[in-house]
Each structure stands twice: as structure tokens, then as C-alpha cells.
Symmetry: C2
């Protein structure tokens, strides 16, 4: 089988070289042997004509330059010592990236220097590994040997097994035997048998572990390792509900199986949603795909790409769609912002998925934006298809994703029109990386976040910030409900901020409809975040020719039996430009909003007490655009403008602003509001265009357990009535109401009526 | 003369149309008359082939679309009522922009609709103007009629006189007489004779006034108005030192002349520096140029472009050079950030200057980046030259600019290498828009501000923020010394924050040398900001192959006879990543740093007391880059990390961070520090590159009134010794010192020696 791979790569390189040569050197190429030095020569020449290069050629030239530079600096395999961001961590990490690339280059060029570099590097690791103790940091629930956690050791093995596979037939059997007995098998055993807590979970950590053990098993042709990877270790009946470093349970209650196939069964909802959210799916998808790619080649009888009705394909499309207009992932749960579909894991996903099924022509559009391909047969296929002009436009779509293994544990709803994108999260807890933000939302447009999800309090891989790990403010602030755009009762987070409770429950979709692009709606409920309280949020993305951009309408009902204080934060992104209400600003003293559940991290900047029922507005400015929220405020309500950053001893938090609407001691409350992007300002022309809101009034016509009816009117005199049947999903039920100055009737759970 | 202009434009349009036609319609054009409808037809067709269009064609198509849309909406000339940002203000402003554009279009296309639109608009203004009272707002030292200040009325007349000139020969003599007696002459008189305080200053306001009166005078062929514009009104001997709305003096002491030529004499230093700074030069340059352009045509005997040895050309080149790598102006004094060489005033400057002297080929490179040209003979010339490939690369340069009419009142020094740019400001006060920041500096790189000048507290033209005017925080914070990167003694601003004192003094350049691009240096002193105190700052931009980017070295000496507390703020742009010192952070209560001179606007976030002499570092992160400042701290010193935004009742200030080094009760103090940009981090790869400082030590080897000697060493073991002779500028003087472990000798005022 190995030889077969080599053959495939030889075909690739010949195809590729000919295609380059035909463009650049039609005469020279004919009848000449394509020796390795020739490749470099061509590459060099080609580089000067960069614009005419195929994507594959460009990446090849870049990677040759990168790996050659690294080879020239010599091999370094230091004794493990540091946390992420520290020298030994970053050095070993760089080693596995470079080894995998060198393996690709050897497959393509057959240049000895790449094979030698890999061999010598592996020998250096094999010299060190047998006597390597556990990593001295001992800060992980599963401490590694080369890195501080087994997870990074598994990363290493996933990458390095590919490099080893690339040079396998250049090694003598005694060399193979040395590497396999001193390095690879001990490492595979360490990551599995010796660390069942790490290997046998249903979790992205274990996906990496399974893939690592399985991929080296395939290269070594070791059925025992392959089976261990696919089916896991036997389940220990004495598993206890201990937690990992992120506060997630290591074993889920009633877990009956483990291993790679169990991950495919248990990690995704049927439509591909991943319970930890897109940032972690991006991370997890890589070992899923790389192991699957190897399985496709070596065990085609498994038909892994069609496993569970093609779950991996669905997961990748779901991942691509959980992005804003710039391709950045929605930063729900623990996510570092800025991660996008340009990540290397998505390059891998797009290339492998296209190669497995070249009818996915819209993937080529993503590949074009990524401007990167893998240096293997999949990347070559993508590059050639791009050159042949086969790309079809990729378009993000509105979508309702179910969460949980069978898609029944709530989910995430995405409404979008043009570049405006509204995301409501009513998913399950999302394990250790989940946040306590039932029914929270975030809003995006062409310039990025309009209403933000804070994401994680973490600087991934940046040593100076806690070794790149989650910071304590992640638990004390970023995970708490007040850090999100959702209702918080009695200044206490959902599920009292306890993952044990969160894992037991989930909200549910009430209804959704995005058939009419101009009147998209989603509605979800939760009855467990607070005992005896129903949270019910309906969000609408309303587009009308009279308005410059889609409007976001938000109707958040809170009903319980016991009076409670209800806060609804709006984490708008930008600078407060104006309000139509007077406020008292804290001029010479700032104090936090509270002392727990994240409130201790919010400075109170300004506040006001509302003494009559009427609409109010806050306008903010960000990135050259004006935004206004108009909301119905009630007498007795308090408005608070705050800023994150209190009780933050190490400058770990951003100083982001928030508007909190606070209703005191209520049993039933409706928070009705609308957000508009209405104008622009350019500091070069200095001309503000449409700096004022287009909304005139937002009236709550009725709100009770049966109906919520609001009326929205613009300055141009255009009005809409929105009606929600709060208790009936019956599509054929007729509703008829007498309102103050009109009759309203409709059929089904809601109406959006333009007057 | 008017006919002559028309003829020039006819030539232009024919040249232009032929050039378009030759590319797109070689057959059609031959022998056909170029009627106006034909132009539109062509334009429409051309628009679909946008990539092949010349810049002039593209702008023409855009402007036709814009003006036609405006014409279709009808003429609106509302009764003046609002401040900037309000409806009547923005409407009248839009009117003058559109009228000028319609004039250009009429000149090019000869389409009647443009002439009619202009005529009808002017008639509407002529109907309103005779009975128009002063603007009801009465908030300016010189209240206008159409706008709240005469300045905007003058803007209107500068633009509209061009539109009037364009259609002059389409009007009957009675129509002209009506417009001139009802509108133009009364307005010219109002802006001059009736408002001498506005017309007769040496100030950008008066430049607008002079140009407005002169330009309409040229169109009306009215020698009285032209002379009034060129030479001003008689100087009133009873002028008092009253101030304008910005706190600037209306008349300068001893002022002997006024008018446009006096502005040219008095507004610029000999090398083109403008005392208010680049943001205001950008604003002021427009009327200078437009009036000069008209004078060139109509009064060539004045040879205005060569007036004062070509001062306008020098001013424009000085303006283009006062920019960062992205073409944004240094926001010194009252400036709104984001303004750049893409501003319409700079498009005007570049086109006119190129037209007047086509040997200025590097201007074409700026025009290419602007992607805009004027719709007249100057823009056509630029467009054609661009198409002919005549552009030569424009490169910003290091430069020392003198301030003041004869260049002797201090100045601004710019050191740069690659995209790194270091600006020290030791200029005169800069009139009403000046800040109290003697010897302050700012630092820029490829991503923008590294160490910022706060700029103005103002949202230009944004109605919601105080009608777009300067906010009170501009006076109380943005102008104060603590808001800048310069020494502040006893928590009191330079000149006690009094413009009366500031206008009397200025710092001076001690020496500068940027001949060696890798060792650029500038040194300046001030002896008036604080009585009996000398401030002496030397800044170096040091580039070395061992370092990834140029280093900024800062040696700030403060010496006085009476002990004083000295603060040196560093307004770094970014998020605190790490410090090598422990600090006490204010966790649950923030208080301002002081109660006056801007200190009341800075929250104290963290502080620490230094108990031994040693270096310390602070690393920050911004826009994907790591920066570190390493500084020598002394026992007894306090370090404070603060944040702007205290005592800001209307959210007018940004929450920007600052590091303040505070030395208590000292007579002699040296603040030595270095700033490096040393690494990068991309949230997609999540790999930090070089996140730690490359600087190992920064030692002060000697510091007294005669010498300041420091030694800088990197982790790689490379060292430099920098020596400054604090009292001798003698280029041939030999200096020899015995330091702890070595002898140091050099010749001249400084040495930068690599060991």
C-alpha cells in the first residue's frame, strides 16, 4: 500500500511539473528527467513569475523555502520543560509542523535531504523518548511527555505519523524497528492505555488521541493500534464524574462506547453542529479528517466518509456556515476571536472534502479565499479545478442547527440577509467549554461584530498570559450569563453557573422561519436556566426597501411565579455617541456592578431610573458606522451603562461597553427592542450620512402569556405589527385580537404584517 | 477671459472624449459631433467596462451619477437654522459641493440641465439672501448667515463662485446683475467689511474669507473685491487681543498686514510647515490653491505659484510628508484622526501642483493612491500622465521642519526608516488649535499608531457630539500636557495651560542628523514650559540587522533648581500584555489621578513603587503585534498605569491606556527608555512569533549637565553606547570620558557607537 501511495504522488508530481512546464518551459520539459534539483530550479524561476503560478505551485515554493530554511538551522529536540508559549513547547510544535511539511516535500520531490531530515529528527526523538518522564509542569488532568498535556503529544503524533509514512520505504527494517519500539508504540500506548481518561472520552481531546494512535497504527500496519483507535479501550465501569482542566466532565453519564467511531457518533448533531461550537469544531475537525483520509486509502471497506450518512461532510458545511461576512467564526462558548475559515484546519477540510467528492464546487470558492492548498493529491485537485475555473460562488445561508447526538437538545439559529447575520444560541451546555448563556445572541455585519459575544478570556499560546491557557477571568466573567446578551435574574447566572446543572438541560426551539428572506424569524424557550421561570426570546431579521439595512427585532419575555430582578445586557461594540435619556455618569469614582457571577467584573459607568413608560434610544459609533437600539422602557426600570474590566488584577479583560436594562422585582417582563445600522461617517470626507435612527416608535400593544404584540413605525411612516402566539405552535390556528385602534388576525404561531 | 476658459474646457473635453473613443469606439467617434447626449451615452457604455477606464473617466461617470441624482430630487434651499450636523447645515453644505460639481459637468458636457440647475439654485439663494438675518445660533465669534459661522459661508462662496463662473456666459446681463447685487456682492461684503475679525486675521479662517471674496471678485471682474482679497482691509489700530471660539487670538500682536498675500507670508514657515499642524494645513490649503489657480489664469502677472519662492509647493510637499505609512496625517494639535492624503483637499493640491509643474512626477504616485482626480484640466492632465505610466514612486522622508514665519520658532522633526516613523514636536504653540505638549512625540509603523498623540476631543460634523464642534474635554484633557508623551511637572501643564504664555515662547532644535538612515537622531530643548526648568529630549531611530524593526530610543532630561515631581506619560496603543514589575491594581474602585490639568480625566488603574535602580519593561499587544518598552527606573520612582475617561459626563473620551513614570521631588532627572516592535501573532495560526523583547539591558552610565551616556544591549549580545554632549553643539569638539569599564571618546555633539 505504501508503494501505491508513492505511485500516486509520483503521478501528482509529474502532472504538476508538466502543467508548470507547459506554461513556462514547453521545450525544456520534453523528454527530460524531472530530477529533484530541476524542481528547485524551476521553482525558483517560477517564483519570479508569481502571478502566473497555480495555487499549488505557490504553496510548494513557500513550503520549500520554509522547510529548507529550517533544515539549514539544524535539528533541535530539547528536553521538555515549558508551558505553551515557552521555548521547548514552541520548538516541539514547530518540529511537528515542519516534519509533516518535509514529508510532503519528500513525496513530491524525492529529494534525499527531506527524508534525511525526517529520519534524523525521528532518531533524535527516539533517543529521548524511552527515558522521558512525565512533563515537569503537571498542570493537566492528562500530563504529556513532550508537552504539558497529552493533547499536544497527540497533535505531535498525528502530524509526525504522516512524515514517518512518507519516508517509510527509505528506512531499513532495523531502523523502522528502532523507531517503532523506542518511539511510536510507546507513545501510542502512553496516549491510550496509560491515559484512558484522555483517550476514552467523547471529546475533541480524545479525537486527537484516537487519530494519533490510529494514524501511526496504519503506517505501522498494526491492527491492534488501529482497532484501539477505532473502538476505544474497554469502558471502565468505575468511571467517576471528575472534570478536566476546562471544568468539563471527563466521562459522560451512561457512556457506553469510545474510540474514533464513537466520536463520530457522539460529537455531532445529525446536521453537523458540534456542541462546543465552531471554534472547537475547527480544532477537532482536523484529526477527524486526517485519520479519515488515511482510513479511506487503507481501509476503504469502512467507507468512512459516508459514515453516519456523511456526518463529516455535514460538519464541515455547518462549520463554514457558522461564520460572519468575513469568514470569522461566531465566537460562542470558549472561543478566541479572529479565527476564520482561513485556518489551516479548514484548508485541510476543504481540500479533502473536495477531493472525496469533486461535485462540491462551492468549496473551490472558499479555497480561492484561503489562497492555500495542501501539498498532496487533494490540494493538487483543488488547485487544478481552480485554474480550470470550476469554482462556484459559496454563499452562507440562514440555518437552524440542532444540538446533541440526535439534534434534539436545542441548537443555534442563524438568520441572515446580505452581510447582516443574527445568531441566537439556545444550544446545550457544550461541555467544559460551554458558557451560561441560554437564549443569548450576537449580531454581525460587513465590518464584523455589532453586538458581540465576548468569547473566551484567553490568549491562546501567548506565554505571558497564563501560559496561553484559559485565564481565571474566563470562569469568573466570560462564561457567566452577564457577559452575554441574555436575561440574568437576581444577578445570578443560568444554572447558578454550575456545569453539573447545565449539562442536564437545554433550551428548545419554539419555531423558526426563514423562507421569506425579508422576514426571517426564530423563537426559542428555556425553562431550566432558572427554576420556575420561562425565558422566551423571539428574534426577527426584517428587511424593507425603505430602510438602508436589515433591522434586528428582539422580543424577550421572562415569566416566573416569584418576583425577580431581571437584567438584559446589550454588549454593543463601539463608542457611546448619544442617548435620548439623561443619565448620571460616575465622574470621579467607578465601582463594580456586583460581587459575583461576573458582575464583579463590570464597572458601572452611568445609570438612570425610568419614571414613565416610553421608548428610549442609545446610538453608538463603530468602524465608520452609526447604530441605534430603540427599546421600550417601563417606569421603574433602570438603565445602566457599564464597561468590563473591574476586578481584573492582570489586565486580562477588554474594556468593552454594555447597556444593561434592569427591571426590578417582576414576575412578567417583556424586553422589546430593535437594532439598526443606519448611517456612515468617513473621517476623510468628514460627512456623516444618516446619523440618526430611522425608527420613530416601538409600541408594545399587548403582552401576556398568550400573546405578544408590538408595533414598529419608522420616521417615513411605515409600520409593522408583529404578533407572537406564546403558547400555540398550531400552524392552522386562527388568532384574532382587538387592539386599541385596530383589529388584528392571523393564522399560525406568528405574524409580521406591514401596515 | 471667461470665453478663454470655456475654450480650454472644450479642448479638454474633446481630448478626453477622443482618448476614450479611441479605446472603445474608434469607428463611431470619427467625424461625429460630440454632443452632450452622446457623452452620456458613451459614459454609460464605458461604465460597464470600468477596468479599462481612465481615472478621469471613472470620476466623471461617478460625478454624473451623483449630480444627476441630486438634480432629480430638486433644489432645496432651506431657511438656515441648524448647527453642523443638523439638517439645514448639511443641506447647504451639500448644495455647494453639488453646485461646484455641476459647474464642472457643465464645462465638460455643455448639457443645459447642469447650467439650469446652477442658475435656479443661485436664484433661490438670491431670493433668500437679502432678507437673511444672522444665523439664529449665535455661537461663533463670527456668526454667518447661511451657516452658524462665517467660515462655512466662506466655504460656500469658494465653491459656488466656481459654479457661477462655469455658467456665466449662459446668463443674461440682467440675470447676472440680479445675482451679483442680491447675492454675491452682499455676501462678499458681509464676509469682509462687515466681519473684519473674520476677514483680517492671519489664520485659516481668513484664508477662506480672502479666497471667497477674491474668487467671486475674479468671476465678477471686480477689482475692488480682488484687491480686498489680496491685501485685506485696513488694519484697525484698536484691535484687541480677543479670542475666537477655539481659544486662539483673533489678532496677533504687532500684526501689520492682512489679506491673501499676507496669509502666504504669515501662515507658513519657509519650508512649508504650518503652525497649526497638518490636519489644519489640509483644511487651509484648499482655498490657498483654488484662489491661486484662479489667479494663475486671470492675473498671471502675479506669478502666484512662485510667490515667496514657491511657498505653496513647499507647503504641499511638507503636508504629504507629515503622514504615516498609510498616508494618515500626524494628529498633532487639534486634529481628528483618520484624515489622510486621500482627502479632497489633497486631491486638489496634487492635481493643481502637477498641472502647474508636470515635472513633479512623484505626485502621480499619490494621485494613483487617491484614485480620484479633479474634473478639470488639472485632473485630466494627471489622469493622462498616469495612463502614460509617468508616475514615479513617492517616498516619505525624514525631515526637520522649522516653525514660524522665518522658521526659527522651533519645529517638528520626523525620523523614519521603512514604515517606522518617529515624530517629535518642539514647535510653537500653533495658535488656538495648539496643544501644551512641548517636546512630545508620537510613533507609527505599518499598522498605524504605536505611541499615540490623542488628537482633538471632537467628532467633526457629528451633530450628536456637541454639534460637531470642539468638546469641552478638548480644553480640559486633549490640549493638556498629561494627554501627551512629554514631561509634566507638579501635575501642571506647560505654560500653566495658558495660551497667552504659549504664544510667547517655543522650544528649539538642539541638533538633528538623519544622514545615516540606520542612526537617525534629533534633540530639542525647552526652557519656557516651566519657569527655571530645562527640558531636553533626544530621540533616536536605531536600525540594526540583528533586530527585526527599528528601535526608538528616548532620553528625556529635566533639570531645574527647585525640586519638582516629574511625570512622563507613554500613551501606548494596545492592551497590556505583561510587565516585569509587580503592581497593585485597583480592583473594585477607580479614582482619577488628579483634579486639574487633564489629570482629572485619567483613571488610575494600577501603580507600584520602585525600590531599587533597575530596568523595567511593559509589553503591549495591538493589531497582531507585540511591543515592549524597556526603561531605566530609579528607587523612589512610581509607575502608574492609567486609562482616559474619568470626569467625562457625556462619553466624549476614548478609554486609551497610558503608562506614567513619576519621579518625586527631583531637580535633575533622566528618563531613558527604548521601544521595540519585536513580534507578531495571528489569531488564525495562533502562533506567537518573537513575543519577548530583544533588549537585555539599558544602563545609564552617566547623566549630568554636561553628558548623558547610556548603554543598550540586546539578548544576542550586541551593544551600543549613546553619548550626548548636553551643552556643546561644536561639531569639532572632542569628548573623552572614563566610564566604569571603558574609555569613550567622540567628536561633535553626540555619538552612537556599536560595540
Amino acid at each position: 500500500m505504501i508503494k501505491c501511495h508513492t505511485f500516486i504522488y509520483s503521478i501528482c508530481i509529474i502532472v504538476m511539473m508538466l502543467s508548470s512546464c507547459q506554461r513556462h518551459h514547453p521545450m525544456e520539459a520534453a523528454g527530460k528527467e524531472l530530477t529533484a534539483p530541476k524542481v528547485q530550479e524551476l521553482t525558483k524561476e517560477i517564483m519570479s513569475e508569481a502571478e502566473q503560478l497555480s495555487l499549488f505551485d505557490k504553496v510548494l515554493a513557500e513550503v520549500i523555502a520554509e522547510v529548507d530554511e529550517e533544515i539549514s538551522q539544524g535539528i533541535e529536540v530539547p528536553l521538555p520543560k515549558d508551558m505553551a508559549g515557552g521555548y521547548t513547547h514552541e520548538r516541539h510544535k514547530r518540529n511537528f509542523f515542519i516534519l509533516e511539511k518535509a514529508g510532503n516535500l519528500y513525496r513530491i520531490t524525492k529529494e534525499n535531504k527531506y527524508a534525511s531530515y525526517i529520519k534524523e529528527s525521528l532518531m533524535a526523538y527516539a533517543d529521548m523518548y524511552p527515558t522521558l518522564p512525565l512533563h515537569p509542569t503537571q498542570k493537566s488532568y492528562a500530563t504529556g511527555k513532550i508537552f504539558w498535556q497529552c493533547l499536544n503529544d497527540a497533535n505531535w503524533l498525528v502530524y509526525v505519523s504522516q512524515a514517518y509514512g512518507a519516508i517509510l520505504d527509505t528506512l531499513s527494517s532495523s531502523e523502522r524497528n528502532h523507531l517503532e519500539t523506542q518511539l511510536f508504540r510507546p507513545m501510542a500506548d502512553f496516549l491510550s492505555i496509560e491515559n484512558p481518561k484522555f483517550f476514552n472520552r467523547i471529546h475533541n481531546h480524545s479525537t486527537w488521541a484516537n487519530a494519533a494512535v490510529g494514524m501511526i497504527g496504519l503506517v505501522m500496519n498494526d491492527k491492534d493500534l488501529i482497532d484501539r483507535a477505532l473502538y476505544g479501550l474497554p469502558i471502565n465501569e468505575n468511571n467517576t464524574l471528575t472534570k478536566d482542566n476546562d471544568g468539563g466532565y471527563i466521562y459522560q453519564q451512561g457512556m457506553a462506547k469510545a474510540g474514533f467511531l464513537a466520536q463520530l457518533d457522539g460529537s455531532f448533531a445529525p446536521d453537523g453542529y458540534f456542541t462546543e461550537g465552531p471554534y472547537y469544531l475547527r480544532y477537532a475537525i482536523f484529526p477527524f479528517l486526517k485519520f479519515s483520509q488515511a482510513l479511506s486509502r487503507r481501509m476503504p471497506e469502512l467507507d468512512i466518509m459516508n459514515y453516519r450518512d456523511g456526518i463529516m461532510t455535514k460538519a464541515i458545511y455547518a462549520l463554514l456556515n457558522q461564520t460572519d461576512a468575513n469568514g470569522q467564526f461566531f465566537p460562542i462558548n470558549d472561543a478566541q476571536k479572529g479565527m476564520s475559515w482561513n485556518a489551516r484546519e479548514l484548508v485541510t477540510a476543504v481540500d479533502i472534502l473536495y477531493y472525496e467528492d469533486p461535485s462540491n464546487k462551492t468549496l473551490l470558492d472558499i479555497a480561492r479565499r484561503q489562497a492555500k492548498v495542501l501539498l498532496d493529491e487533494t490540494g493538487l485537485a483543488v488547485s487544478k479545478a481552480l485554474e480550470a475555473g470550476e469554482a462556484e460562488p459559496y454563499r452562507q445561508t440562514p440555518m437552524i442547527y440542532g444540538d446533541g447526538e440526535d439534534g434534539s437538545e436545542g441548537g443555534v439559529g442563524i438568520l441572515r440577509n446580505g452581510q447582516t447575520c443574527l445568531v441566537m444560541k439556545y444550544s446545550a451546555q457544550g461541555m467544559g467549554h460551554g458558557h451560561f448563556d441560554k437564549l443569548s445572541y450576537s449580531l454581525y455585519d460587513d465590518v464584523g461584530e455589532v453586538v458581540q459575544d465576548y468569547g473566551a478570556a484567553r490568549w491562546v499560546n501567548i506565554d505571558q498570559k497564563g501560559g496561553g491557557r484559559y485565564l481565571k477571568e474566563n470562569q469568573s466573567f466570560a462564561k457567566q450569563s452577564i457577559a452575554h446578551n441574555t436575561a440574568v435574574l437576581n444577578s445570578t447566572s443560568h444554572y447558578v453557573g454550575m456545569i453539573e446543572k447545565g449539562e442536564l438541560h437545554h433550551p428548545f426551539l419554539y419555531f423558526a422561519n426563514y423562507e421569506d428572506a425579508d422576514r426571517q424569524i426564530m423563537s426559542a424557550k428555556d425553562t431550566n436556566a432558572y427554576e420556575g421561570v420561562e425565558l422566551h426570546r423571539t428574534m426577527i431579521l426584517l428587511t424593507d426597501e425603505s430602510l438602508p439595512n436589515p433591522l434586528t427585532l428582539d422580543l424577550f419575555r421572562v415569566s416566573g411565579e416569584v418576583p425577580a430582578q431581571v437584567d438584559l445586557p446589550l454588549w454593543f461594540q463601539g463608542h457611546v455617541l448619544a442617548t435620548d435619556f439623561e443619565y448620571t455618569k460616575s465622574l470621579s469614582e467607578l465601582r463594580p456592578l456586583g460581587d459575583s457571577y461576573g458582575y464583579q467584573h463590570v464597572w458601572q459607568q452611568a445609570s438612570t431610573a425610568i419614571d414613565e413608560d416610553q421608548n428610549h434610544t442609545l446610538t453608538w459609533f463603530a468602524q465608520g458606522k452609526f447604530y441605534t437600539t430603540t427599546f421600550s422602557a417601563s417606569s421603574g426600570e433602570e438603565l445602566i451603562i457599564g464597561m468590563a474590566g473591574a476586578n481584573d488584577p492582570s489586565f486580562n479583560l477588554r474594556h468593552d461597553p454594555v447597556l444593561i436594562r434592569r427591571k426590578p422585582a417582576v414576575t412578567d417582563a417583556l424586553f422589546a427592542s430593535v437594532i439598526e445600522s443606519h448611517g456612515t461617517y468617513d473621517p476623510i470626507s468628514e460627512i456623516p450620512l444618516n446619523p440618526y435612527s430611522d425608527i420613530k416608535t416601538l409600541d408594545v400593544l399587548q403582552d401576556d402569556e398568550v400573546y405578544t404584540i408590538i408595533k414598529l413605525s419608522t420616521n417615513e411612516g411605515i409600520s409593522w405589527i408583529i404578533g407572537i402566539a406564546n403558547q400555540s405552535l398550531d400552524q392552522s390556528m386562527n388568532h384574532a385580537l382587538s387592539l386599541a385602534d385596530q383589529q388584528l388576525s392571523w393564522t399560525g404561531p406568528y405574524t409580521i404584517t406591514k401596515l
